[in-house]
Symmetry: D4
Subunit: 247 residues, 8 copies
């Protein structure tokens, strides 16, 4: 552990105490005024850096990317406006953009596959695709094999059963549904691997922007299921990757 | 229509105007101070009289039964306390009681089967049985053939598919579920007859006394489904009977 | 049942096992990547195909219509943007559009009347008409005689009583109301046929986009009433048709 | 105005300044430590004193009554536990108690009729009677003629129409309903006098302890209606009296 | 009563039975397809006709005004878009418009003062004025003397106490407040006449579009207060007028 | 796969078609009237059978245990009343009970450790222990090494940092907190393994029986976190085991 | 700072590195299995130790008190059951108990007055006293002069104005109210010192266990006000003390 | 006190009684029709005048500023639209504007530092800056030294610990966070001075426009924390200043 190293150096007089105190502070974060960038995570596990773009000005996003890029990191931006993307591409031409899921990516070095198995992303309907693709691209960027099975909601249960062999081939499942959100319960009863449920804000009337689907998933009578926030495809992809790299 | 009859009598002088006005008021309801009893419905369609016992004192319930019984009606009491039942049985020994569903019944004349097909009552779990039995006994009392399929929730989808032939034999389906409440959506995708969904307050955590299941059912992506209030087994049974007697 | 047929063929060696497994998968659904089209329902009951257009891109909607049209189906689109309609009409000139209810329809073959009685659609106010017309056109497309009674809300109870003979002529009633949503309770007390209640998001202040009306309808003290989601005219029309074709 | 009187006395030297300051403080309220009793209102308009008993200890209630009784006031206690009543009766034998509505009353002097017309209290069901009686006894104590019309809910609209002449005889109406709470809207459309709507917590499922009825009443499409809190029979009775004494 | 008249005519053969049945239906309402206009109220009490314009198309509003205008009624439109007003003015040049409160008015005959006393409209802040003016103009149109006291919220209690003599001069008070909505409680403790509380959607954060103020007013510890829906200035003005014309 | 086996037997005439259809139905579930027992899962993965006891009668629980016990399964009962436990112990003396977490267990055969790493259960406070122990015993029963770190909530951040080496030794973390529920966010920022967050209903005031903690966890700004229902220690333990057995 | 001290000792070889690591862990917290006791705070500022007793078993509470008492600390227990108090008194006879506020206190050494001014606790009603007394005793135990002004709610504004000089004598105000919760807004407009608002769960109907008062206080239009959780008298007393000891 | 002065003058005949009554009314407020300006506060404590601009027309804002400016006050406008600012600057060229926080300021005289210590403003993320800056500029305008520490949310706890010495240098802390809102709990456990928590509406999914963060903060298990409304940076800055000027 670094702290022991540092203490040994202090003991041996190899380092000044005030400097040691500073070191303890400075290592993992870089403070650029409006943001504290965490380079730590990237160093530790080779993951790309991630920027949640919503609610940040273009200037802030560009500033953060500049610092990350200087280190040669791969960079993933979520909820990125198309206009922002265009500004970034002018400066970093290797920048790419997925329009439906609003994912921005800069690959400065090849992505290594570090997942131990396959992640499968399942949706109830066609309208859940933007969230599903956010999960899909996130998990791919984090070094995983990912397969998609879309529009197999519970109101036509045979559509789902037709895909059973794909479901059963997964090491981790991400199951995404809006409206009544019942799909994870059914899937959870069919497999024996972790199921990450993602409610979407798809629907109308008393769906309350996804609350109905969220509650359904929290109350699932199937075991082995957990839930991330409404429309949080990124969170699901990240968690799936975290599980899938366990060995 | 009665009103034409009455008007004809008025025209012919067969009836006094003040009396005619009174007639218009008095026909269908009997005012006993704390309640206005509707004998009308019973006369029209041969249905038993129904008393919602919750929140009524034993004295009031007994008073209402007394008036109904004088007419020889069949009587159905819902949400009846066991103590109340015992008091009633002392006076009306032909009174019966279903403990789980808290249904009280007095059969003063045989129930005629007036339903055109079969009603099937389905539940997700064992804990939904009190509500399901309220629907079951209500529909039977209203003159229907009823069959029960219990504990076939979506987390073990094959349990449900095993019963598919029974589901398909129904003219009307009542589907009852707590927790995530996804069962009606799956059933609704498997059949082509009306599905009445009943959320129950079974569950814990963020199920909010049945609200989670209620929202799930309202947001169902399957067609042909409608919803009654939480735990309202009586309402589902009554509506199923209303549909099943259509010819 | 098809599965018996298939098993018989397997037994007789008329079909290879792997092929049999494939057959079981392929029959009712057509997977076009972003959607799994259910041609099954159409084959079974002659209903038109239905597309819920909200949240789908024009390209997806056109792609789905193309596949459906190839089979000569009648097609119903709900919540269809006017712009989308115009694009579709350029390709399928027999396409029609109801602006108020945003209903799109393509009649490739005449609609057969398969309903056993009349469906009556009732509204509390003028502002409920878009939802009411969605129910009206849906039920008509599904082969029913439908009649409309609009703006007869409970604050002027005689407006409603004036239409009593129309209400009583219905085999199924769809009752639509916003604001306090009391109309279904009153109608439910006047008739003895199924009442489908539809809350609308009409109103202001503490109506919460229709929640107030929804709760009113769920808590109705009248029997024989069930509820569909807020503004879900299509769901009401579809359910009414499902009930009305029971024989 | 008293303050002018007082200032005149100050000017004339008839009263000491410090005493004047004290006078200004002491007049209307009596501070007994745990409560500030408002004798003012009673002096002004001859109304009885009112104690909201819920959440107060018996000792506090008795202490407050003692001070009030010393002035010979009539006293009204709402939400009074039966046990509390018994303790009070031991000390003040002219104390009376209405068990259903939990109203306590001490008439130290005859109640004068000060209302200009009749108040009519209407309920949707039998279970609303405790709240309705709280309104009834409150309005009577405040010097009004009051008439009761119970169990005339909207699901049997003719029960209500039968009582139309009583409704039309009122100067102020209190309309009380639980479950869907639609009664005030219908009544409001039938009369041209102020309607005070009282939601009750009667019902089950998604009625949320009266919230459903409350929202219904707030969203009423009839004019001339206002709402008091759930189960607040006292508030309705008091307001009706306040309106009815206007001349 | 008209019904007796009619019955007498029927008895005397002065009117045909079928015609009598029609008469009973036709009198108070005029059905113009998308709306049932209630001319009844206007005839009864000389009130202007009122149109709630929100959610109605310009065509519908114009159609309704045309029918009303033919009878020479005074007309009040609430929540009227400015564009709509301009179209109406082109046809009916005597049409006027209050921009802040979006009130439209057509005075075809002079407004008679029928109120027995003065109505006072009070607001907590400057931002409540649009709602307050809706109440103000409504009450004036219904024939009342009305006075305004604006921006006297409870956080500066002396601002309110400075206006005490105006408050005490009212026969009915309308008290309007957003944010915490405490003003009606304070006013209710200062006067002995009916207080109509109107919550407004003014505020931010956890005010939930007026719900916070609504709950405050419903839970008021002052007596003699009732509440109308959020931002419902019209409802308050109408109710105040209804109370103020009692004699 | 069994279905292929069966089909081969059908092809070879080794099994009758009707019998084959029956087989397909009967295998995994045993229908005992009020419950459909899933013996399937146990056979597949050696997991103990699990009974959710809440809302089931003692008779039902005993009946289910009897069937399970006949197969020699290990049995886990959650939310088991102490009284129920006593009845069960009379019949199955090897039954054990954890009073705080209300866990019932019958070990008919030794539990094999099948987890690949260590699961660590962390709580914010002392009052979260019942839920935490439910997770702890569930995970142990499912064959895992589990360690507990209790009462290290965020208001004393150094308590948590003191345990950092234990947190970092986990392959899966279960983090349990009531009140503000912030612990999972902090833990999630300190580790790189999956974090299962469990909100508890501990707290008072505006915690709404755990909703506050639930929302906190869903909105966590840390990655790699997912959430199960309020107080759902069993679900967390089961999911942790599901993740921990991945290889 | 201690960490510098420790580092100096490490540098000088006065302390072993492993021991230094241990020291860093052990100082402020004592881990007794089910709880991590924070002796730190007590050492720092002489405050009594505080135990939140709700949801803790008597054994746990006794165990924690035992450890605290060994250090001679003053001890404050909140939400303490009377039964628990009796058990504690048997062991620690100098233990005292305030029944209304359920405060437990052990004074092992005299309380020093460390507040710079006076704290005043104000309530709207008599029923708020239990919460108010929790604040009162907490602030006193933390070394403050505290004065109480009870039952001066806004519906009788002169009761409050009568106490203005006491309000103005405070350095910090705690203002406690249930029902509509408007008192802090009015007080906040009268003084220029910090106001801590405490909503209480007193009330009925749509007060939602204090939510109504909570929202009122959060939306206060007066400045200088902040809010603690519903019924959280302890939190208010603690914060008031924290402010009052600033110099 | 002024009232004694006035009374002495009345006694001595130095002032006419009617004039005295007027004086009592006129002093602190200036009524300009649509607003009652409180010059009182400014006179008392030298604070700048504050205008909450949201929901006020430009004309009203300009009118209020004109009156304030005539007195030479410093003026602070919150939630000011940029367009409004430009109109004001044309008239008052010394007007300044902070775009991110939408703060408008006119310094007619130098701001005196009246705070006794330093206020520190802390945020969880970059997106909280608009609210944080509103607090920052408010506190500075009210005469305080203020320091900012931004983007130190709990998911990277070391970022926060790195800034511990700044946190400990504060006399009052304002802690601002969206999403899960856990930062104030952690900060509250690290310091012994008052912490003002501000939830922001930053986040998505089930954060409900800041409600999630608000609940987290209200339920904080740390002591010494209180909460202001969502996004209410001004309120936090004002309260911090009120605390910081206590001596």
């Amino acid at each position: 552990m670094d702290i022991r190293n540092l203490l040994e150096k202090v003991k041996n007089g190899d380092i000044d105490i005030d400097l040691a105190i500073d070191k303890l502070k400075d290592l993992p974060y870089e403070d650029i005024g409006y943001a504290n960038i965490d380079h730590h995570r990237q160093i530790r596990n080779g993951y790309p850096e991630v920027i949640y773009c919503e609610g940040k000005s273009d200037e802030h996003i560009l500033g953060i990317i500049k610092r990350m890029n200087e280190k040669g990191s791969n960079i993933l931006g979520t909820r990125c406006r198309k206009d922002t993307y265009k500004k970034i591409r002018n400066i970093y031409p290797n920048c790419e953009y997925e329009e439906l899921s609003r994912i921005l990516k800069i690959e400065n070095k090849p992505i290594k596959n570090i997942g131990k198995g396959k992640i499968v992303v399942v949706t109830g309907g066609t309208s859940d695709i933007p969230v599903a693709d956010e999960a899909y691209y996130t998990a791919k960027f984090l070094g995983n094999e990912v397969e998609r099975v879309y529009d197999v909601g519970v109101a036509g249960i045979h559509r789902l059963l037709n895909k059973l062999n794909i479901l059963k081939s997964a090491r981790v499942l991400i199951v995404i549904a809006g409206m009544e959100g019942a799909l994870p319960s059914v899937v959870g009863g069919l497999v024996d691997v972790p199921v990450i449920a993602v409610p979407t804000s798809v629907g109308y009337g008393a769906n309350f922007g996804g609350i109905s689907a969220l509650l359904t998933m929290l109350n699932s009578c199937a075991s082995g299921i957990s839930v991330v926030n409404i429309d949080n495809g990124f969170g699901a992809g990240y968690l799936a990757a975290t599980i899938n790299k366990l060995d």
